[in-house]
């Protein structure tokens, strides 16, 4: 199977604090990979390295075929990223946001135009083309943010707590978008604090104190930890943490 992420012995230190402590794992093409861990376990630091935003102290990693240490710019150009905190510009119109991000990712203006119409149609957003993003309902914003993050057709998209704070129905609709993206061959790397969402992933890793202490399908994890659900699995692992990251 083709690997979209290969991390080998990745370490990140800040002074004498080891934020990410020697993690090794792979993510397969087309997979939904859940990246879990308590606050302060090292998820964000690990993700920043994988996105080419932070150089590892030691170890190696390849994302979308490029070396995260030596080819960080190519990594950035070949991935998508969305977080709940930042995704779209509120003071730009819907189409302007799409054009901006398309441009940033180096798409030509003809291609952007053509794909914008296609996208608006698929999302049923044709009437909102000229709407300011700030006046869109939250659920719509999220849909748009996700679509924009994969607009340039990246091999992999990183989603950092994409569903925080949304209502239960919108949260589920969002996961259906994720499934659609994987149907189109895009690999999804997602962090979440909702343990039911961990169940929607093909495989899940759980970070504790900078290490990956478990990596399996949700079903196998439940078996291994003799747990009713992922919430219990997470609880068993995360409470062994020594760090007071909280």
């Amino acid at each position: 199977m083709k690997k979209v992420i290969e991390a080998e012995n990745l370490v990140k230190k800040f002074g004498d604090f080891t934020a990410v402590d020697n993690i090794t794992f792979q993510v397969n093409e087309g997979e939904i990979f859940g990246f879990l861990g308590a606050n302060g376990a090292g998820k964000t630091t690990a993700m920043r390295m994988l996105c080419g935003l932070s150089k590892p102290t030691s170890g190696e990693g390849r994302v979308a075929g490029y070396d995260i240490g030596k080819e960080a710019e190519k990594v950035k150009a070949n991935i998508g990223y969305m977080s709940q905190k930042f995704s779209l510009y509120n003071d730009l119109k819907v189409w302007e946001n799409i054009r901006l991000f398309g441009g940033i990712y180096g798409m030509g203006s003809d291609e952007i135009k053509e794909k914008t119409d296609e996208l608006l149609k698929r999302l049923n957003f044709e009437n909102e083309k000229n709407t300011m993003v700030k006046s869109l309902p939250l659920g719509w914003k999220q849909k748009l943010a996700f679509s924009v993050s994969i607009f340039h057709n990246p091999k992999i998209v990183f989603l950092d707590e994409p569903t925080g704070g949304v209502d239960p129905a919108t949260r589920r609709q969002f996961w259906e978008l994720i499934y659609e993206a994987t149907d189109r061959g895009i690999t999804v790397f997602v962090t979440t604090h909702y343990m039911d969402e961990a169940e929607y992933c093909d495989r899940v890793s759980i970070m504790v104190d900078g290490r990956i202490d478990a990596l399996e399908s949700p079903m196998k994890l439940r078996e291994t930890y003799d747990a009713k659900n992922m919430d219990e699995v997470f609880y068993q692992l995360a409470r062994t943490a020594k760090r007071n990251g909280g």
């Binding site: 302060g40 239960p168 929607y200």
Partner: protein
């Protein structure tokens, strides 16, 4: 007297109606949850109750005091932890706490017993600047500062948003202890599982309260039969179940799907057969009790 009485409250921001006529009461000593997604109006409600903004219509009372006329008195008896970290980033942990104690004319020592369990976890870092704390430690400091004057009513606006499940459990453990001290607690959250930890909850969506009851009471009021099913390929199963003509609703819930059928159907046999024809093998539906998310989604549809 009730700890909180809210009647016909409305608030508009330009064209946006943040709260569209909300009424409820909270008993003294109650742990009351306001459960709803971002944009439902939770923060506006908190800001009115803590006298930071005026409502356009309606009235609100805290411990019998009017939020407009008696705002000064209210400010003495409530503690408020806003959703956004709002302590002084350039002051140390201890300085922040001393500041809030002084503002309320008290000392850290006087009410130390109230915050002891929480504060002692961050006390080793008391000389650190608040801006340099981790998320969990900021949360504990903010809670300590909101408690230091021994408020009668504590308002916590989304204290657990973005917090991992283990720390969330710990936080709710702290709230239970505070409840024993007789403090009335009003807490908002977008996490539906936390609803079960409250005495009573209000489910809020788009500026309106859809339901108020105990969590169990809300679940008892769910009036459809609900089944859960599992399959090998859950995403394909979800799509197929939605295509089935008898399906009323179908949502993913962790490792299973939750389904209601049209017209109060008594049996899920038809759907099981349909799933088998679609190549999902032998699937057994199991009738289950709704959870808060099931209830919330059903109420939202109305």
């Amino acid at each position: 007297m009730k700890a909180i009485e809210v009647k016909g409250l409305k608030k508009k921001y330009r064209k946006t109606e943040a709260i569209k006529g909300v009424s409820f009461e909270v008993d003294k000593g109650e742990l009351f949850g306001i459960i709803g997604p971002d944009g439902a109006g939770k923060t506006t409600l908190f800001r009115i109750l803590t006298t930071l903004i005026y409502p356009d219509e309606g009235e609100a009372r805290v411990e019998g005091l009017d939020t407009i006329k008696d705002y000064k008195e209210i400010r003495h008896i409530v503690g408020y932890m806003p959703g956004r970290f709002s302590l002084y980033q350039d002051l140390s942990v201890e300085e922040n706490l001393t500041f809030f104690a002084t503002v309320f004319n008290t000392t850290i020592e006087e009410n130390y017993h109230l915050i002891e369990d929480i504060y002692k976890q961050i006390e080793p870092f008391k000389r650190r600047k608040a801006g340099k704390l981790s998320g969990g430690m900021k949360q504990k400091l903010a809670l300590s500062c909101a408690l230091i004057h021994k408020p009668k009513v504590l308002f916590l606006d989304e204290p657990t948003t973005g917090v991992d499940p283990v720390s969330r459990k710990e936080f709710w453990g702290m709230l239970k202890k505070l409840k024993k001290e007789g403090i009335t607690i009003v807490v908002s959250t977008p996490y539906m599982d936390e609803a079960m930890l409250c005495d009573r909850i209000a489910l809020i969506s788009e500026g309106e309260i859809m339901k108020i009851n105990s969590p169990e009471g809300i679940i008892d009021e769910y009036d459809s039969r609900l089944w859960k099913i599992r399959g090998e390929d859950m995403h394909r199963l979800l799509k197929d179940v939605r295509e089935y003509e008898g399906t009323e609703s179908c949502y993913a819930f962790g490792d299973s799907l939750h389904i209601t059928l049209k017209g109060g159907e008594e049996s899920i046999g038809g759907l099981e057969k349909f799933a088998e024809e679609k190549g999902h093998g032998k699937i057994r539906g199991e009738e289950i009790r709704a959870n808060i998310e099931d209830c919330f989604m059903k109420l939202m549809k109305k």
